[in-house]
Every structure is written in structure tokens, then in C-alpha cells.
Subunit: 345 residues, 4 copies
């Protein structure tokens, strides 16, 4: 028997008539267009956000609206466990952010992950624990107990902004981190936090087999921290998951299938970046080849959110073509290959 809700839905649709004037409407979504790769679904995720339940300045539901508008598939609420800026005004209960945001997220088909930021002085600094079931239990006196409790809940744990409050903002790997790492309490690491990129941390990630994470660490409205109207976007982690579900994201994170999207850059392992590039573009040649013309025109469409810049890696003797080529996001360009007169002479 048919679902009565579906019936209602279709009835609603059938009684809408179409006209074509533009009307202002504020709540639209800009899809984050990235190709699926290697048989996986590419999900746009932000694993680092705050609310008024620690030191953010928005109610948890704002994080849902923002995630939807900005084309995210999933986000985590990761308020600080150890401190709160608004104790005078807000009753702290760290189960609440997720509890408040979840219904709105579900309505919009967004995955809302329950998390928390274990926030200590450096070392060892801050750690996001994702996929928690009981945030309050993770609030322990020692960071070791906190991390262990998170582990017991099956958490995926990320060392956040490793260069924070370090000289020249460069990450320093302390003895404490070796212990955490050896205990198996560190699975991912923020190679990018907000807009800060830590190249040394990327090297650690590759060497120590940690999952590369890029987190927005937003405290205010995204539109204030990132200049969305100029085409800017929050820093995200692309997750290559078996499907769009919380458990599939968790599996992909542990399997290290991620890349980072910051400004107009993709940061990650070649095995993922290469197929993203090749699945983003489509190369064609004009149907009608003009035989009398010695040059060849090549047309390239870029269907992704990223503008790629190509740099010629060598030189074919006897032919001329652009040494650099930009493929702007969501645009088509062309270039010509023609005989190099000089080499002919």
C-alpha cells in the first residue's frame, strides 16, 4: 500500500503551476560539485564547528542551515569540553547541541555527527572526538582519560591545528603525541585549520598514516568567518565513502580516504586527487575538422567546483601550445595546438 505521505507530496506538486519571474528567496543550496571517484561517493564534510554551548556565537540549528546552503553532506558539532565563554548565561550540557540540531538536519538529509573538542594546553593541545554517544562522559580530569573514554565509544580522533600557539604556527610533535599515537588514540590530523595550512603536518600524515583533515573551526556564522559572497567557502574535508551515511563516513575516515578543500586548493594523496581531476574534466575536439587548417583546437569542460591550472610538463618538438592553462570551475575553455614555424624552418 502506498505511503500516505508520498500521496500528499505528489498532490502538492501537481497543483503547482509554473511561471518564470524571479522572486527573492533566501534559503537555497549551492551544491558542492565534486565528482565521485574509484567507485566511492564524494561527500563534502566539516568536522569542526562550534555553537553557543562553548565559545561559538550561534545556536546549533544555524549550523544546519549553513551546512545545507553551502552544499555540505555532513558536519560535526564539536564544542569545547573544558571551557565555555557563556557560563553566566548558558546552561552547559554538551549532549544538547547535537540533540537540538539533529531533527533539522534529518529533515534536510544532512548527516549531523555528535562530537566534542577535548581542549587542553599544548602539549597535547586540542582533539576532536567524532561519533560520540555520550559527550559528557568524555569530560575527564586527564586528557588521557578523556581520549580513552572517547575510544571506548568508538570515536574517530583528530589532533586539531597542531601549529596552534607554537612558534611561527608550525606544528611540533611532542612526546605526548607519540604516546597518544602509540596508544592508537590519534586517527586523523588537521593539515588545514580554518585557512591555515601546515605543510609539516601533511608530511606527518603521510608518514604516520594519519587521515588528512581540513576543518573550518567556525565559531561565528560562516558568512562572517568566510566571505561566501565572493565565492569563498569554508574549509572542508572531502570523504570518499561507500554511500552517504554516518557509518560509511566513519569507515572512510578510518580507511584514510579523504582530501582537503581549502580556498581553490585540493590537498591530499595522489591516488585521490588524480581521479578527482580526471573525473572533473571532459575533453572534446570539434566535430568538423578543417583539414586545410594545420592547427587543432581542443575543448575542455571542467564540471567541478575547483579551478585547475595546468602547467606544461615538457615540450613536443615542432608544436606550439600554451605553457599554462586555467580550467575555471564550471566552465569550458579551448586551446590550439599548431605547428611551430621556427622548428619547421
Amino acid at each position: 500500500m502506498a505511503n500516505p505521505r508520498s500521496q500528499i507530496f505528489f498532490t502538492v506538486c501537481s497543483i503547482l503551476l509554473i511561471t518564470t519571474t524571479i522572486q527573492s528567496q533566501t534559503t537555497w543550496r549551492d551544491e558542492g560539485d565534486f565528482p565521485d571517484i574509484l567507485g566511492y561517493t564524494t561527500l563534502v564534510c566539516d568536522f569542526h564547528t562550534h555553537t553557543v554551548f562553548s565559545d561559538g556565537t550561534v545556536w546549533p540549528t544555524v549550523r544546519v542551515t549553513e551546512a545545507w546552503r553551502e552544499g555540505l553532506d555532513a558536519f560535526a558539532l564539536t564544542d569545547h569540553l573544558e571551557f565555555n565563554d557563556y557560563e553566566e548565561d548558558v546552561i552547559i550540557n554538551l549532549e544538547r547541541p547535537h540533540q537540538i540540531a539533529l531533527p533539522d538536519a534529518q529533515d534536510l538529509d544532512l548527516i549531523c555527527i555528535k562530537g566534542a573538542e577535548i581542549s587542553r594546553k599544548m602539549p597535547p593541545g586540542h582533539f576532536n572526538a567524532l561519533f560520540l554517544t555520550n559527550v559528557t562522559a568524555v569530560k575527564c580530569d586527564s586528557y588521557q582519560d578523556a581520549l580513552k573514554t572517547a575510544m571506548d565509544q568508538g570515536a574517530f580522533i583528530i589532533w586539531n591545528h597542531p601549529g596552534w600557539r607554537q612558534p611561527e604556527q608550525k606544528g611540533i610533535w611532542y612526546e605526548e603525541h607519540t604516546q597518544i599515537y602509540n596508544n592508537g588514540w590519534m586517527h586523523g590530523i588537521e593539515v588545514v585549520n580554518e585557512k591555515t595550512y601546515y605543510p609539516e603536518v601533511q608530511a606527518w600524515a603521510m608518514e604516520k598514516k594519519l587521515t588528512m583533515i581540513g576543518g573550518s573551526d567556525i565559531h561565528g556564522p560562516t558568512g562572517i568567518e568566510f566571505r561566501l559572497e565572493t565565492g569563498d567557502h569554508r574549509t572542508c574535508t572531502l570523504v570518499f565513502a561507500k554511500e552517504k551515511s554516518e557509518s560509511a563516513i566513519k569507515e572512510a575516515l578510518f580507511a584514510r580516504r579523504t582530501a582537503i578543500w581549502v580556498e581553490n586548493k585540493l590537498i591530499g594523496e595522489e591516488q585521490y586527487l588524480k581521479p578527482i581531476f580526471f573525473n572533473s574534466i571532459k575533453v572534446t575536439q570539434p566535430q568538423t575538422l578543417v583539414l586545410s587548417r594545420s592547427s587543432i583546437t581542443v575543448i575542455i569542460r571542467n564540471n567541478s567546483e575547483i579551478s585547475y591550472e595546468l602547467v606544461s610538463a615538457g615540450k613536443i618538438p615542432g608544436w606550439k601550445y600554451p605553457v599554462r592553462l586555467t580550467l575555471p570551475a564550471h566552465r569550458t575553455i579551448y586551446f590550439t595546438v599548431s605547428p611551430d614555424q621556427k622548428s619547421v624552418e
Copy 2:
């Protein structure tokens, strides 16, 4: 054996390395995204453009670059046959515009149609003849001879801007038009010229089975006549063709399979507009239905270039939902359907 050109092309591709900095590049293409319908390919066409060979202000090759950048599939060069603003400076030969533009167009896979505008005082006014083989031959003393000569070349003939220089810019159907029509010398009619829409002409088109045409009638660079940077576009004719080829466009024009795209409006017959709308959108519901919630969220993606406004055509008793809904171009929106409390009480 492999085409040596293809080999060159692939070699070029393989020696390009990828980086991701944005670089300014001016010649990109914004694809005109319209869905294919009813088994036909939707082609974006402009059948009315001028160059310095009559009273336009650009060289014919500019029309190629512009067509490419603006996402057109085909365009016609239709300089005035009977007058020229630049006789002192330009040697008039109306075979030239097409001859000059064609090679560039072919390189970019654009269809460049040879045409001319038979330009007389009203009545009968101006007529575009498309698919000509010899433009010069169409320059005759009487307009009847001109139209007849064009017909002999197999031309598709359009009455342009029927409201031009008429009181209040309203089209007047003169005796001369009846004769032309009865002779079978009029196949299409401009329901929209530049940005001027003639509703009375649309009525004639439906009644007399004339093909509806929208032409830009550009004389200067498109970027000057249309404010492209604000998202504006030149007025175009959408052609529903069996394939992307000049002969397929001709077949579709005679078969009256067109619609007009002007500003954010589509003008045409319901049989074409309806499938454009339904092929533009994708309706989904969240995977996770929250059973405890009585409201239903509906998500609609609009993949087309057009922003649609939906207006509720009726009312389902007991349910509340938006009376108006805008589906912005290339965006996703949602709305909720919920029980109407008042009707429950």
C-alpha cells in the same frame, strides 16, 4: 591506423601537470544549460546578428568568440542587404561575413549560418533569410524578388520585429504580409527582438503556424548591448533538433520546434515548455524520515539556466505549504508540508 592529430593531442595532454592556483584567463564558455526534451537535442541559437558589413560595429570573428563564450550552439550572420553605414570605409560584399567567420566557428564546433536581412520600409519591413548559398543574389529591386530568390535557395524566412516603427511598437499585419504568407515566403516570426516582446505576434504565430523566434539583433559587442556581467544574456531561440548540425536546425525550424529565451522567461508552446521544466528539476525527499515529525520536507534541484517560480494552483485541505516557490537556476531549495492546525481544530 590512428589519426596522427589525435596522437599529438594525447601527448600534449599527458605532458600537462596539474596545479590549482587560479590564473586569469579571458576566453571561457558559460554553457547554456537547458535539458534535452522529447528525444531532441536542445540547441541555443541566435538567428539575428550584424557586423561592420552593414551597420554593426564588430568584425565577423567577434560574433564567433561571443557565441562561444555565451554558450551558443549556432548563430546566423544577417547583415542588411539594402543599406550600409560604412560605405566610405568598408567594401561591401555580403558573402564576406560568413566566409570570414566560418573557419573560427568550425574550430570551436559552432554552427555559423549564412543569412541576410532583407530590409525594407514597413510594410513589409525586415526579413531574415537563413541558410542562403548566395547572399548577393538576394539583393533585388523588389522585396518580392528578394524573398523569392531566397526561397529558391531553400531559405527559412523570418519576419523580424513586426512592431518596429509601428504605433506603440505593436505589430500590424498588413496586406503585404498576407501576400507573403500566402506565397509561403514567411516561415518564422520574431515574437521577441532584443528585449521587446510582442504578445500579439505570439498569437499570430500560434494561429498561423509560424515558428516562434527570439533574436538578439546585436549590432555592437554583446557585452555592451546586454549586461552579461549581471547574469543577463542575449535573447535566443531554443531549437529542439535531431542532432547538432546545420541541417538538423533547418529541419527543426521548419517543423516549428522552438522556444524563446529572453531575460528569465521562456516563451513557446506548452508541448515544449512543460518537458523543459520537468527535465530541469529533480525532486527528492530526505532518506531519513523522522516519523515523530508531522511535517514533510521536499527538496527540489533545478539544473537549468532558468529560475522558475511556482504558484500553487489549488489547496489541499488540512495541509500547509508555500503558496509561491522560487527554484533558482542551478540551485537546490526545500519546502515543508505540514498539517494545518486550524483545519484540525
Copy 3:
């Protein structure tokens, strides 16, 4: 003796070197450009905003950042007195929003007005009381007591969104409003709330000598409720004040020197709109008049935030000129006046 702080400031400035690469920076301000008129300073104000202390979704400091970025000179925090959506999580103390926001506002030279929204069922509906000294005291059982207490504190009182929950959203003036008005407890009225314009309310304002107010009534981040990136802005009240100060705003409000800025419209009395228009534009003619040319070119610069559309109010016999003319905000346009050939013949 020089202020030591100023010294520090000038030292800082002198050790800054200039380069000219663009760097992303998120916290800039778009000045709301409106001309001063009639010897008054034109201030851009929003007298209707909410925070998490009633049913808004942002911390009070967000209202400061937003006001600064959006070019406001002043704003009021007007949380609901009678209800709160977050009682489970937020400790309600209505002195707090202003107390929290004030220091940030002062740093940025923004005027932050302490207010509250007396929120009852219709009639009499909702009323904003501005310039309160003790918000808590205004929380009374009867709305009469609430309004009277606000009056005792010297408040300026506005009837908000008079069409709210009325049939077809049209304002209804109930017996209760006559009483409030006769008591002198109503000084202003929202002719525009968010984007809803009540023409009947504008008529009341003119007839009953109430100050015309436009309020954003924002609950979420402005960037979510208004589509700022498309050039949209929150609904504001322009106040023509003797200086930029809280007391000057209060004086101007009681003196009814306001206009409303909503979308691209100015709503108000002719005595204020006329000088705004004339102080916005600058008309020039080319230095070099070409005497051989019979036409005259007129150049108009619009320095304001508003795009004006001019419509010809009559006709000068013998001359041709555009019947409609748009003066886009912050742009210059020209038009030509030329002899009308027909009238000459």
C-alpha cells in the same frame, strides 16, 4: 599633553609599509551611502533585532559585527519580553543582550540601543520599546502596565508588523490601538517589517503623525535571512539626526524625521525623499559642446545606494528624449536630447 594612546596609534601607522596584493579578509564594512539632507546627518538604523535571549539564533555580539559590516550607524536589541524558545538552555535576563553587545559596539563606533519587544497576541500585538534603562521592569502582567513602565523610562514605542496574523496580512486598527494611541504610548509604527510592506499602515502613519519605521526583525544571522551576496540588504530606517549619537536619534524619532529603506525602495515623506534624491545625483554636460550636432548629451552621476528610475512626467514639443531612465546606484549614465524630426517636418 598628548594622549598616549594616540601616540601609539600614529606609531603603528608609520611602521606599516604599503604593498598592493589582495589578501582575503572577512571583516570589511560596506558603507550605506546616503546623502545628508536639510542640515541633518543621515543615519542607517535597524530598530528590530533578536538574539538567543528570546528566540533569535545568534549571540548578541553577532549583531554588532553584522551592523558594522552592513554599514549601519545604530541598532537596537529588542528581544521578546514574554517568551523565550530556549528556556531549557539559556538563563533569561533581558538586561544581558545589551550589556554583552555594548563594549564591542563602542569599539566600532556603533550606537547600540537597549530595547525590548512587548509581545502579546493581537490585539494589540507586538511593540518595540527603545531607549529603555531597565528591561526587566517592563515585564508586566498587562500590556498596559508594560507600555506605561516603558513610557516612564522615556521609551520611544513602535507598533510592530501591524498586519501580523491578520487576514491577508493587512493591518487592522483595533479599539486597543486607539486607547494606546490616545494615551500617547505609540510613537512609531512599522510600515515595513522584514520585507513586508503595509501600505495601509503608511496611510495611518501620515494621518496620525506616527514615525515611519522599517525593521529587519532578524532572528538568524543577517546573511541567512537576507541574501547579502546578491546585493540585498536588511530593511532599515534612515534617521535624519542632528548628530551621530543616541540622544540625537531619539530626538529625530520623536520628531518623525525618518524614511524606510527596503530592497531598492525608499518609503517616507516627500519632504525627506526629495532632498535625498537631489543630494544623491550630480548632473553635468560635456565641456565641449559640439555645435554642429543638434543633440545634447546629459550626464548624471548617482552617488547613493539606491537605483532611481525616472519617468518622464510630460512632453516638450519638438524634442526627443528617453521616457524612462534608470540611475543605477554608484554609477553614471547619460542620455541625449535631440530635435524630434517628425515635429519639424
Copy 4:
């Protein structure tokens, strides 16, 4: 007695009524906002443009419309003297471009300078001769005769794109250039052509006292060669002139009072760049200094077309402030100076 034209003009103005809906209008002007400096008027000029009278692709009048829309004060038409791409179609007469464009330019108060590009193989390459009275006469067999003839007409002569067709596009100063320079036939030099910047040429300009020029060298419509809709602009020369007139521009060019505006960069001598910067910005501090706060907020408004990036040139012990600061064009920003805690401890 009053000018009858002025009367007509004022009558026209008085019969225009004001409404405020936006209407699409294509021909507006974006003023190039640069401050006047050192008692001079800052004029935005392009001394290098082409038309269909050599190898450009637009009619001369297009250059007027573009200059007006892009906020220029003056431009030169500099078609190639020695070659023409359209000999088959265009009758070459190099007095024509200026003759055709001048009336339109005068109507819009734009200065249209008669020029030509003496175009030889390198060495010595291409030279623009500005302020010519007879272009045809400059077409001589030897480049020496051409330059001398231009000199006899009082021309200002610029060596164009000195790196053109040189290895790595670097300018080479040949023996021929020494001769031209010693003869007094070279007054300016293109430090920037289109978007190519020649740093070595800037060094020559400073050393040899040549006027620094930036030219767009546009051949097609500006909107195709520069991506105007993304905020890009054509490369221009800023001229610091005694007034807005052709003779004042000539005087300023010979006196070397110029700077180059390319992308978001200003290139020139410190004596001009410094006052441009300081006349662009306005620094204020909040009226209400909050004494209890130890930090100071500084507000900076940038009224110019250029986004400046400030880099701290030193360090004031005991105080913290941003090391880098961007002042976006036409925006206001703020930063705070506060006691450095560490230095206090």
C-alpha cells in the same frame, strides 16, 4: 541671455518624476576612483588601442562606448601604420578612426587622442606616436623618417612592449634604441603592455627619465580581452594633469607625471604612489573611547579603486597588532592595538 539648450535641459529634468524600481539599462559608467594628488587632477587614460582600420576587430565608436563605461577620461586610437589585416574589405585611411570616434567622444566628455603605431620588426619594434595631426604623413619607408615626421607634428612617442618577441619576453635595449633615444624621439615606454609587466623596462624608465606607460593594446572588445565582469579592468596609465584637457595630458606626459594601473597594482614613482595611498584612505577612531578597555580600535576607510595590503615594517615593544592588513577598495576595515601580555609579564 541664457543658452537655449540649457533651458531645454532644465525643462527636461523638471518633467522627470522619480520612482525607484530597478530597470535594466546597459550603458552605465563605473567611475575609476583615484584621488587627485599634489594639486593635480588624476586622469585615467589608455594610450594604446586598435580598430578595424588595422588589425582590431571593432569599429572606432566602440572604443568610445567602452572608454565611457570603464571610467576612462582619455584614450588614444593607435592603429598600425604599416600593416592591415583587412585590406580585402576595409579601405585604409588612418585619419578615419579618430575622425569617426571624435564626435561620440566629445558628447561624453571623453578626450580622444589621434595616434598611430609605427610597427617595425624588432629592433626597433613598435612605437606609439600620440597627438598627431596627420597620421598618413607618418607612414614612411624608414622608421627614422616616421619618428621624425611624428616629432615634427609635436608627438609624444612611446616604445611599446619592449619585450615583444624577445627571449623570455625580456626587453633588450638595442643600438637602434640608443640612437632613437639620443635623437630625442623616445619620451615614454610601456612598462606594462596588456597584462605583461617588464621590470627591466621600469628600471630603464627611472634611469633614462622616460615616462612610464601602461597600455591595454586592445584589439577586440575590452569585455573579451579583459574579464570586466569579475572586477578586472584594462591596463591604464594614470596621468596627473593640471586639468582635464588634451593639452594638459600632453604636458603631464612630457613632465613624466604618470603611474600604471594593472590588475590590482600601481606601478610608478614613490612621489606619486605615496600621495595616492594617503589620499585614498581615511583613518578614524571611535568617538566613544572605552577607558576600561586596554585595546584601541582603529578604523580605516579606503575610497579608492585599489585594494591596498599593508605590511608591518617594524614592531612596537609591548603592543600587539596585525602584521598584515588589507584595505579593500571602497570598503572600511578596522583593527585593534592591544597590550602584548607576554611583554608585560
